[in-house]
Structure formats: structure tokens, C-alpha cells
């Protein structure tokens, strides 16, 4: 009984410590890399490039690229929480790049239409001046 006591005491101490360690690891990092989020970010960037964001929203696109590069670095560093957040930020930034590209394009089309209309009206008034 006496002999067994110290052993028993050590075992009883080790179990809660193990639990605490697991809780700690689970709280600070998820072990698998955020593959889906990284994939989503890559797709969002590809969509932005397809929409010619490189021409119409270059700063947003380059930030999205920087974010995904950082996310990949975080995966390398086993910092999966950070990697997931950076991947999300990259996706969001790429989406913004696409939205701003669409906006700029739409405004350009409207401006062109307005100019064309103004030209038409102008021509009309000129030719109208010649006709009584």
C-alpha cells in the first residue's frame, strides 16, 4: 500500500496535465492546413485576373496575391490559424478587386455612351443650325 501510493499519486497528476495540454493545442492551432480556404482564395484571384483586375484594380489584386503568399508561408510555419485568416482575407480582397473592376468598366461604358450621346446632340444642333 505504501509502495503503491507514490506511483498512484504520480499517475493521477499526469492525466489532468495531459488534458490541459490537449486543450492548449486545440485552442491555439488546428493541425491540418486550411486547404479549402486557400483553394477558394486562388479561385477568387483567378476570377479577378479573368475580369482584368490587373488593369482596373491593380492594388487590390496585388494585395490579394500578397495575402495568399502570406497564407502559404503561414502553412509552412505550421501556423494554420493565421493561414486560414490570411486565405480568407485574400479571397475577400480578390472579390473586392473583381467588384471594383466591374464598377470601373461599367462607369467607362456609361461615360462612353454619354459622350456619344453628347456628340450626337452636338452634331444635330450643328446640322440643325444649317437648316431653317
Amino acid at each position: 500500500m505504501n509502495l503503491s501510493y507514490p506511483f498512484h499519486r504520480r499517475t493521477r497528476l499526469r492525466v489532468p496535465l495531459g488534458i490541459a495540454g490537449i486543450v492548449l493545442v486545440a485552442a491555439c492551432a488546428s493541425t491540418p492546413p486550411p486547404t479549402a480556404k486557400l483553394q477558394a482564395a486562388r479561385e477568387a484571384i483567378a476570377a479577378a485576373e479573368q475580369a482584368q483586375a490587373g488593369q482596373y484594380a491593380p492594388s487590390e489584386l496585388s494585395e490579394a496575391r500578397m495575402k495568399i503568399a502570406s497564407a502559404n508561408s503561414a502553412v509552412q510555419d505550421q501556423n494554420m490559424i493565421s493561414a486560414a485568416r490570411l486565405a480568407d482575407e485574400s479571397s475577400t480582397e480578390a472579390n473586392l478587386a473583381t467588384a471594383r473592376t466591374m464598377d470601373v468598366k461599367a462607369q467607362a461604358v456609361n461615360a462612353q455612351m454619354q459622350q456619344s450621346n453628347a456628340t450626337l446632340i452636338n452634331e444635330m444642333q450643328r446640322s440643325g443650325g444649317a437648316t431653317p
Binding site: 493521477r12 490541459a20 492548449l24 493565421s82 464598377d103 456609361n110 455612351m113 450626337l120 437648316t131 431653317p132
Partner: protein, 355 residues
Amino acid sequence: MNTKVQLLTIRSSLIAAAVAAALLAGCASTPVAPEGAAAARLKLTRLQSDPTLADRAPLAIHEATAAVVTAEQPEADQSLAQHRVYIADRMVDTARAAAETRLAEDQRVALAAQRESSRLDARTREANAAHYQAEVARADDAQQKLIANAATDQARTAIAQGEQQRLNAETARDQAADAQALGAEQKRDADSARADAATAAANAADAAALAAAGSARQAAELQRQIDLLQARPTDRGLVLTLGDVLFVSGRSELRAGSSDHLNKLVSFLNRYPERSAVIEGYTDSIGTEAYNQGLSQRRAESVRSYLIAQGVASARLEASGKGESNPVADNASSDGRQQNRRVEVIISKSEVALL
């Protein structure tokens, strides 16, 4: 003993919990208001309160609103809080861009309608302008037609005037010639006739002036009558040639039914009673000169008698036989001889000269 062991167990559990709590505290600090969340909320509010944008990207604005709400939640983890703020900020920006895009697309409908209306307007104006130009062209055309017509009229008038002047000049010239002839005759009779001739010449000049002043209608009528008569104007006057068909060969009596030409002469002389006529008979060279002279004289007299019978005053008519003289064609051929057998009636053109 059992109690002691239990106590120890509780103590060790407490220690483990304390360690875990301390370690957890290391991951997250005390809860504070997330920095930047307010700025994201402000941007979102501005977007939502813009009447032109608020309804134009409902899904994007809904997602942005959720992101902002998440960002606003108190979070001890600074990194997570900043991440959420970042996401919320970009999503609000994205929602605004989407709403602006949609607004532009909606405005495009109005712009297209404006363009269509402008084009329609332009086409209407073009059509009106074309119509106007066509009318101007038509008016021009009509005006030019009028000008052309006027020019044609003027040309006609000029031609008529030219003709009239020609006739007047002819008349005047004939009258002058007649007056000269008369003057010469009088000169043969008596020297004193010279004065008369001079007077006659003066009268002829006056007549020329008068004739020149005469109306175009009279001149035209005269010309028509001359044409009817088939007379040709010569220096001696209007010469009407009556062919030998009037007479049976070797005889001086007029053939019956051959007087159509003579009737025209009668009507002409009746129309212009102030004119006198000299009837000259001619023959070909066949036969003796004396015979031909006699024959031509008789034939001329025969015509004169006919005219007198038709009511022309005998004082206006003079007959003379010219025999073989003044042939108009070669007597070597029968054709030429036929042409030489003729009676010529010379109608004076001068009314005044004979007065």
C-alpha cells in the same frame, strides 16, 4: 488516509486547471472594443443611406452587414478582431462597388433610350433637311424653267422683230427703187419731172419711214399674201411668173380652167388696191423675133384683159411684149424653152410712189 489522497487529487486538479487557464489567457487578452470596427460600420451606414445604392446590391450589403456585426463583437484576440475588421471593411467596399456597378447598368437603360431618342430626332431632322433641300431644288428648277421660258420668248420676239425689220427694210428698198424708176420715166418725158422724181424719192423715203413704223401684223399679212402668190421679191418689185401652160401653143387666149394662179393675183391686187402691176410677155427663141414680139404682147394683153374683167382697175395694169428677150433659161433645150415661155407680172411694192 483515503481523505488525504482525495484532498491531494483535488489539489492537483486545481493546479492543472489553473495552468490551463493561465495558458488560455496567453492566447487571448481581456475583451476590448475591436479597433476599426466603427470605421467599417460608418462606411456601411453611408452605403445603406445612399438612396441610389442602398437597394442595388441587397445580397452583398447583407453579407457586409453580417461581417460588420461580427467585427463589432468584443474579442480578446486582437489578431482575430483585426482579421474580422479587415474582412468587414473589404466586404463593405465590395458591396459598394457592386451597387455602383448595378446603378451604372440601370443608368445605361436611360442612356440608351436617350441615344435612341436623339437618333430618332437626328433622323427626323435629316429627313426634314432632305425634304427642304428637295423643295429648294424643285423651286430652283421651276425658276430656271421660268428663266428658260422667258429666254425662249425673248428669242422668239427677237426673231420676229428681226423678220419685221427685214420686211420693213425690203419694203422701203422696193419703194425707193420704184420711186427711182418713176423718176427716170418722168425724166424721159420732161425735165421738170426731175423735181417730181425728187419729191417722189422724198416721198419714198417718207414711205420707208412710214413702212418701218408700220405694224408687224401688216407686214406679216403682206408676207403671207406674197407667199400665197408664190411671188419673189426683186429689185423691180414682186415678180410673179405665169408659165406657158396658161396658153395653147401659138395662141394668146387664156386656157379655160388654168386661172387659179391668176385668181390669186386678182385677190392680191384687190387686197392691195394701191399697188400697180406690169404684165410682161416672153417667148422662147423659136420663130421670128417679130412674131414672138407680137405673140408676147398679145399674151400680156390677154392677161391684162382677164384682170380687168376680174375688177382690177385698168389704170393699175400695164401690158408689154418682150419677145425673146431676157430668157431665164437656155433655149437650146425644150425644158429651157418652156421656162422662157412665160408671162411675168411685176407688182409694185410702193403704194406711195404711184400716187
